[in-house]
């Protein structure tokens, strides 16, 4: 009996060896006090801005940043539950609500760019050049022109809902599609379906090559896309790394960082993707 086992068992170590490679797990994560969780929107990551700023911050302060990029709705919810230490988001109305409720602290303006309504090349609903985004959406609804919504409670989606509300339209029907995905994917759907959508300028510039969409309505004041940093409330959630969160927020509004934001994207897209706003008042934008 024993002999048989010895002879034939020699293959098993092979398999164990193969899978054993899995045990050499990657470099140990940074010690807890040094790690900071940043919850932010997909647009800051997809535009590549954070790939520039985060390494700089890490080098300066020694913190390790864990960037969780999700829709702004979720990013704010994570911060408001103390699951993230700092939020970089773009939904002023909900941000102010969280601050008023004491769940997030110290909202500070970082930068802005703008949203625009884009649509298929022929502009079938004839909204090109309209001054008011609200009016334009109303006309889209009347024409039942295909409109692709983010549908994910992101900052972009929250603005879109605000626009529909002001247009006194309850969008529904087969012309109104809810993608439930990020901005890039939504632009792709709008392009394929020959529909209109609301997009931030940074993602649109990055996707211009791929999507057959053109700007139709832009430069309306309501289309401002304002990014702010907010810190999690350590008094409510003791696990929050308040010092690190504050350090990141301070870094975002620091002079040097703002200078990087000012020039970011010029080389690649021929125009800046964001305009720095630290220290300004929202009404002055």
């Amino acid at each position: 009996m024993r002999r048989i086992i010895m002879n034939r068992g020699c293959r098993v170590p092979w398999i164990l060896f193969l899978l054993g490679m899995g045990l050499f797990l990657p470099p140990a994560p940074a010690p807890a006090g040094q790690a900071i969780i940043l919850s932010t929107t997909t647009s800051t990551q997809d535009s590549g801005l954070l790939d520039v700023l985060v390494p700089l911050f890490e080098k300066k302060t020694g913190y390790t940043v864990k960037t969780i990029s999700v829709g702004t709705g979720q990013a704010l919810a994570l911060g408001a539950k103390g699951e993230a230490d700092v939020c970089l988001v773009h939904a002023p109305d909900s941000e102010k609500k969280y601050v008023a409720d004491g769940l997030l602290l110290n909202r500070r303006l970082v930068m802005h760019n703008d949203f625009l309504i884009v649509g298929p090349v022929g502009d079938p609903a004839k909204i090109q050049g309209m001054k008011s985004a609200v009016e334009a959406l109303r006309r889209l609804a009347e024409a039942k022109a295909t409109f692709v919504s983010r549908g994910d409670n992101s900052g972009t989606h929250q603005l879109e809902k605000k626009l529909w509300k002001e247009a006194k339209v309850e969008p529904s029907g087969s012309w109104y599609l809810q993608a439930g995905q990020g901005m890039g994917a939504t632009l792709g759907i709008a392009s394929e379906k020959q529909g209109y959508t609301l997009t931030d300028r940074a993602t649109f510039l990055a996707f211009k090559k791929r999507a057959q969409l053109v700007p139709v309505v832009e430069r309306d004041r309501i289309l401002l896309n304002i990014y702010s940093v907010l810190e999690a409330n350590a008094a409510k959630f003791p696990r929050v790394n308040a010092a690190a969160g504050k350090a990141f927020a301070d870094f975002m509004v620091a002079k040097e960082t703002q200078e990087i934001i000012r020039t970011y994207g010029v080389e690649k897209f021929g125009e800046p993707l964001f305009f720095p706003d630290a220290g300004k008042r929202e009404e002055s934008l």
Binding site: M1, I5, R8, L16, G22, E83, R239
Partner: protein
Amino acid sequence: MELIWQGLKEAVRLIASGDPEVLRITRLSLQISGGATLLSLLAGIPAGVVIALTRFPGRGLLIALVNTGMGLPPVVVGLFVSIFLWRSGPLGLLELLYTPTAIVIAQFVIAAPIVIGLTIAAMQQLNPRLRLQLLALGASRWQLLWLLMREARLPLLAAVMAGFGGVISEVGASMMVGGNLLGQTRVLTTATVLETGKGNFDVAIALSLILLLLVFGVNYLLTWIQQRGRAS
């Protein structure tokens, strides 16, 4: 078509130039999913063998549950593992969320039912008389188990492949519990989602091809071991 061609070229370029970022992501994918598969084998094969060879009340229900678990949606696993690992969750103290360990845990939960289920099936397809014969030949309890598992090694290797294939290819759980952090928890599937989101379709295609090659390589090796085992 041109896009696919571009993707192929980009894939070749990334592999040939040994792009450090791609190498790191590939190695991480292999380590995380390999580790999760290994753990699921260590737990799943013994569990499957015990369930297959013993009789106890509730066994039918348990097997039905395991079989259901074989189709466990990764996003559901991701959601529940996240909730457990959140700072406010029951395991929040461990600070595991957004680490490779968190992904290993989630993938273990995904792979374990697959391994257990296929192990049960593998052991049950053995001729029941074999067991009696081995016992009659004087095999001890452990020798009996060992020989039965040896006899079932072909389907057991299939269990390894199914478990590994299930976790290396999932994206939902990795994204939720790992957070897709560059250099820490970014694996091939989540990197593909990210690059697609950025509109870098050629890089996304390249990453997909690398993933396919990796899965093929591992399965080729396992199949080779499996078929060699059959030949002897």
